[in-house]
Symmetry: C2
DNA sequence: CGGCCCCGAACTGGATACGGTTTCCCCCGT
DNA sequence: ACGGGGGAAACCGTATCCAGTTCGGGGCCG
């Protein structure tokens, strides 16, 4: 089973084989970012190991790294996606409000042409997804957009920290995007960011990023309030009473 | 050699045995924070495992966790403390400038009485160390002071992120504290912070924390410049003597 | 005598098998 | 129907082995 190198030396330059633990970590993180792994799935080291044709050691190291980064929560019965409480989400948004405007300013200043192209492509995807009402595609476009501008941030530590915290509220974000009005606001925000980035206007980019994060937080709070008022939790993962097993 | 459990069930209530990997991780991190492990020490998993009377797996997991948190760097020949380049340090200071003023404001608002007492004790230690010229004690007091006010920050994620980045420049900090003038500035800054904290003045605490971080960065830059100008690096770990390969 | 190359030691990454312990869940008995 | 016990699940840790990589030193050759 040593012949399972699926996509080595592809054209992208990504997908570095690196090491087994790295591959498992990256793949699991990708699936977590896309909310392909829900709070009902239990991740067990032996199963992960078997799925990747590896042994327990790299699987467990990947899982524990995800735990330390906040993507997963270890329990006595397998690893699960943590159900973020209201205060958890507010904590994360507080940090994002502090970091992302500055990072956007840096990205606007240092934006390269390829990054600008990626940004435009992501915006186009988002627009298409919005007009089609495709929530999944909008989430992917959102991730691509963020990935593109974060890639232009020279401060790698800053970019990694932002990506980590933004990923953790991804599930919440997905819930807010179920609302069509929120989708419109998001795409409009992306467009305004895109415009500032392409103009290399660091000041405006910082302002609009602050606005964008604030809107994301407001959308979450509105959803939270609606769930508390109306009987229906309506997809909010913040405080589900029972098991809305989809 | 299995009888080296240093401080289990001590009076503090901390030092939960938890698990072996946790114990190894915490102990190594403590030693790294205090710069007891220098860039010349090579950490080898088998040696660590033997030292703690454990096997390789918990030792390696602790080491790799330290790697992914930035405390260590993995190489083909043991784990070593990373030699931070100038840009690395600047990256970290940029993040600290963004986070710490806000965190100080939160801490000032929510400071509890025990935390205030710990803060005062740390300041007293720092003053004693400064008048005695004891660099090591000043470093420890510095850590205690930071730990005290970070403990008052309700946003645990924010506090943990700050602690992580501040730890990473600890070795650099130690180098700057070799200068007596810098020591005076640091203790004066701590005193001003302490005063704002005790007054629960969030605004002033934020301002003074911004100032404090800026002074720390300036001290580092001054040392860097002096090392570049004068022939002798003089203890600066940022630019090692021979092979500045990066 | 000096430079170059090769080999082996050291270390990481990974695999495999095994034992111990805690905890949850289901089933059984009352 | 409800509570307690047993077993399985899953974590944590140990021991041992193998493969690949890299670095340094010693031997060989010019």
């Amino acid at each position: 089973m040593r012949a399972l190198s699926p996509e080595i030396e592809a054209e992208g330059g990504i997908s570095r084989p690196e090491s087994l633990r790295e591959r498992i970590y990256l793949d699991l993180r990708r699936r977590l970012q896309r909310s392909e792994i829900g709070p009902d799935d239990r991740l067990v080291d032996t199963e992960i190991a078997a799925a990747y044709g590896a042994s327990r050691m790299p699987a467990r190291e990947a899982l524990m790294r995800l735990v330390h980064e906040g993507y997963l929560k270890g329990s006595t019965r397998g690893f699960v996606v943590p159900a973020l409480s209201l205060s958890d989400v507010l904590e994360i948004f507080e940090i994002r409000r502090l970091l992302e405007p500055r990072a956007a300013a840096l990205a606007a200043r240092d934006l390269t042409e390829p990054a600008a192209a990626a940004l435009s492509a992501a915006l186009a995807e988002a627009r298409a997804a919005e007009s089609g009402g495709d929530v999944e595609a909008l989430i992917l476009a959102n991730i691509a957009f963020r990935s593109a501008w974060l890639g232009a941030v020279r401060n790698a530590r800053l970019a990694a920290t932002i990506a980590r915290f933004a990923d953790q509220v991804q599930a919440v974000r997905l819930a807010t995007l179920r609302d069509a009005a929120t989708r419109r606001v998001v795409v409009a925000g992306l467009a305004r960011l895109h415009e500032a980035f392409l103009r290399r206007d660091a000041v405006t980019a910082a302002d609009r990023m602050a606005e964008f994060v604030a809107q994301a937080e407001a959308a979450f709070l509105a959803l939270q309030e609606a769930a508390a008022a109306g009987g229906r939790p309506a997809g909010a993962r913040g405080s589900p009473g029972r098991s809305p097993r989809a």
